[in-house]
């Protein structure tokens, strides 16, 4: 007789609870949620969820905060109390199998603070770092652009924290926070004399190497950027090599990286020399293998017009000539094959934009063009990056107004990706089971039925691709949505508008 014990007690409790909620005690007992989110690993798999909230107002401008941590099955596992300054927000969180780290930013008092908890839930670090307002503003701006990563976990050994540093322009400082005695903490600073704005984004890390992209540009509004691949020794922070991919020499949009033994493999889209990666049309996909000294071991290019587009047309006869594929992710599976996940799009005329332009004699400010996003595609390449296969997965059309009527569709696509205009959500990889799940949110227009939102996952398992659709509740009484979850699962959320109740349930993505 434990849980509902002789309902006398249970009823009583519920009565107490109900009444306590409506009594005046609630006037003094309330919590303000500041933010909530998922703690995601380097394979975009959810390790945990957190809710950060303010508990109490304390003297001297202090606040009592708490973080509630739920595991990836939504079980509450810990609630930790934190005393800090008011107007503190939780900017990033990560878990490396040994430690959970939370990174806080306070704009008013201008500091970054990180707090770590070990596997027993004991606080193992609490460090405050002063930072100027300018540095903070740049940090958040660069992070929003998608070219900066504030916090990256390195499995089992530590975390990489990258903060902006004011030098002649804006540089960065990489701090390695160690979670084990075997690796000592270290820091790396970009040169103080640098006159450029530099951003830092790790694309692959392990216990040996940190492969990071460094983007540099002269000014805030400059369209001209150079990309460098910086590879660090994880153990001591020494930069092993820095390889440039500039407009003049080797312009590339690097999207993925792999570490295989002591080789670094880079993937992405290539351009002709002299072309700007943010405005020109890419020529195709590339792969290159570098040694840990930065020497080119191998490289291969697959061009768009003769190979990738032809393959797309052969698989999907309706593909129009002006169609492109936006490649979201490329991943390598245990059989040595690479899979590139993309969405087909093309530039079309926007009826709303056109009507507005006519009515305003071209001064509406609304772009006349738009991007029409259609099917999902998965290109398969062998170990030597030869194009082997392509599978097209039919999706409903999505339309997104162009950012500008000028420039290539690809320029617009790049800009729209960061705005979430494409249907792609994420790619999750299950290393243990050698699977990947490419997830999309699709708006399906069905004949004779109400249009529906569907969560679509393209699954690679046992060398085969399949897809699974989950239709979201389209009843007007509900707001339905999907949230990231642990690999192979999706978190479905339904908000009942009338009853003001949120229901969440984890569902496994089906492989039949």
């Amino acid at each position: 007789m434990r849980k509902k014990i002789l309902i006398i007690a249970t009823l009583f409790l519920s009565v107490l609870y109900t009444k306590a909620q409506s009594s005046k005690i609630t006037d003094v007992v309330n919590f303000k949620t500041k933010n909530a989110g998922a703690i995601v690993d380097t394979n975009t798999n959810v390790d945990a969820y957190y809710i950060f909230y303010e508990v109490d107002k304390l003297k001297n401008g202090d606040r009592e905060y708490a973080i509630k941590i739920l595991d990836n099955s939504l079980n509450p596992v810990a609630t930790k109390k934190i005393i800090g300054k008011k107007k503190t927000f939780l900017a990033a969180s990560a878990y490396n199998n040994k430690e959970m780290l939370f990174l806080f930013i306070n704009f008013k008092d201008k500091f970054i603070r990180y707090i770590g908890f070990d596997k027993k839930g004991t606080k193992v670090r609490d460090t405050k770092m002063d930072i100027s307002k300018k540095e903070l503003t740049w940090l958040l701006m660069l992070q929003d652009s998608g070219y900066y990563e504030l916090l990256t976990p390195v499995d089992n050994i530590g975390f990489i924290v990258a903060t902006t540093v004011k030098n002649k322009k804006i540089g960065y400082k990489v701090s390695f926070l160690s979670s084990t005695d075997q690796v000592k903490p270290w820091t790396y600073n970009t040169p103080a004399e640098s006159k450029e704005i530099l951003s830092f984004k790790p694309i692959k890390v392990n216990e040996k190497y940190i492969v990071a992209l460094e983007m540099s540009k002269k000014s805030k509004y400059s369209q001209k950027s150079s990309v460098f691949v910086n590879v660090f020794d994880t153990k001591n922070g020494k930069i092993l090599f820095k390889k440039p991919y500039t407009k003049e020499t080797n312009p590339r949009l690097i999207t993925n990286g792999f570490i295989e033994g002591d080789n670094i493999i880079l993937l992405g889209e290539y351009f002709n020399n002299g072309e700007n990666i943010f405005s020109a049309k890419s020529k195709g996909l590339f792969i290159e293998t570098l040694s840990n000294k930065g020497e080119l071991v191998d490289q291969k290019k697959i061009d768009w017009s003769n190979q990738l587009f032809k393959k797309l047309q052969s698989q999907n006869e309706n593909t129009k000539k002006r169609s492109y594929v936006y490649f979201h992710e490329i991943t390598k599976m245990q059989d040595g094959n690479y899979y590139a996940i993309g969405e087909v799009y093309r530039k079309t005329v926007s009826a709303v934009g056109l009507a507005s332009a006519i009515l305003s004699r071209g001064n509406s400010g609304i772009p006349v063009s738009q991007l029409t996003i259609t099917n999902a595609v998965v290109y398969k390449f062998d170990n030597n990056f030869n194009l082997k296969d392509l599978q097209v997965f039919t999706k409903g059309k999505s339309r997104a107004p162009s950012i500008t009527d000028f420039g290539s569709p690809q320029l617009n696509a790049h800009a729209l990706v960061s705005w979430g205009a494409f249907d792609f959500i994420n790619l999750q990889t299950d290393v243990k089971k050698d699977r990947f799940y490419a997830n999309f949110l699709d708006y399906e227009r069905l004949k004779g039925e109400k249009n529906k939102m569907a969560f679509v996952s393209i699954v690679y398992s046992d060398g085969q691709l399949s897809s699974d659709n989950i239709y979201l509740n389209n009843d007007r009484k509900f707001v339905s949505s999907v949230l990231p979850a642990k690999v192979g699962n999706v978190l479905l959320l339904e908000y009942n508008k009338k009853e003001k109740i949120i229901k969440m349930h984890l569902e496994k993505i089906n492989i039949e």
Binding site: I8, T10, T18, K119, K486, K508
Partner: protein
Amino acid sequence: MKVLSKKSYFLAIVSLCFFHFTLFSQKNNYLPNQVDSLYNYLDNTTEYQINHLDKSFFSKKKDIYKKRLKNLKEQIEDSTFLFNPKITSRLNQVLNNIYKANPKLKQYHFYFFIDTSVYPNAASFGDGTFIVNIGLFDFLNSDDELAFILCHEIAHFLNDDFNSQLNRYISKLYSKETKTRIKEIKRQQYGQTNAGLQLLKEINYDLYSYSKKKEVHADLIGFELFHNTQYNPNASITTLEKLGKLEELVFNDSISLKSAFDTTNYHFKSYWIEEEDKLFDSEEEIDDYELDKDSLRSHPHAKERIKELLAKYKIDTLNNRLDKRTIVNLQSLSKPSIVRILIDKKKYDYLLYYLLRNSPPDYETLSLALELIYNSKRNHSIGKSVGRDTPFSNEKYLKQIRLFIHNTDLRDIKNILKNYTLQYKDKITDKTFNRINNYFKP
């Protein structure tokens, strides 16, 4: 409530008689045929309780009674209770033995609901209505043990525990002292929430401490009722010992998923029941705001309850002659109902647990259970009905079942279902075999 007024009693008795009469002809297990009669009875008993409330905080207590009545009716409509004439009749046999041995109880007209919960539990509403969870029948070993629990619940009624706890709660929450404390807290510029939480904690601790005293008292009064019956007095001790074990584990009978679902053509895979790494190395939730668990117990530990009972009464604890034959009837009556409840409520984790406990297994129902799990996974709705395992649960076997349900891919379940029904074709009906076989036709 001690004794109902004549008028109220007349109304209640008429309602009850009508209700019992119709109960035997009911078709729907989850609703009484004459729901109006039952509601009439519940309305009357609630009205009686309200009419006999003392004047202090009358409207607040009245609200609680009204809300409780509303909740109970909603629960009835939500199929929370089972209206099975055979089980009710069997339960009434034990109750009649208690009434016969304690004639003073005959003046009251009790009503026992059978809750569909598989968690072993019972409860008293304080107005003559009680709840017995169907899981209790499966948990107990004899009529003797069931009788002791029923006596304990009746003792709560006789002690008027609900009303005394209600009075304590209301007077505590709305006392001048509490109001002054709230005002003081509101005036605090800093630390309001923690001060409010402290106040709530004190009120909670006080109520739980009071509840524990009431439990011990109900054990003692309940034993006096129980002792008058022909049941073995030692069942009071064995029952409390069992409840003590329940504090740790409830669903912990050994089951083997591997031996059940490893078929010749589709072998069991160990990762189906593999646990994920824990986020924290802790046996329980880490909580900086944790309240003292012992202070939040509504019941004292079973050991303390046994000690209190043995201190007051001479009980031959070596007398283990429990009449197991009688409970067997109740268990055999309740088992099919439990399986049906679990199917209806889509509690497929508990369903597998109940089915796999039996030896030899019920191949027919196990095939059905696999089919239901397959369809629920296919529709992406299994997460609504089957919870994920919690990292802190010690119920190893139930945990394994949940892992099995959630770790298996749809194609795994499909293959298990296919091969299981093929392997045990001669042990399941042709109808079930053919229906399931349809899934695998190209």
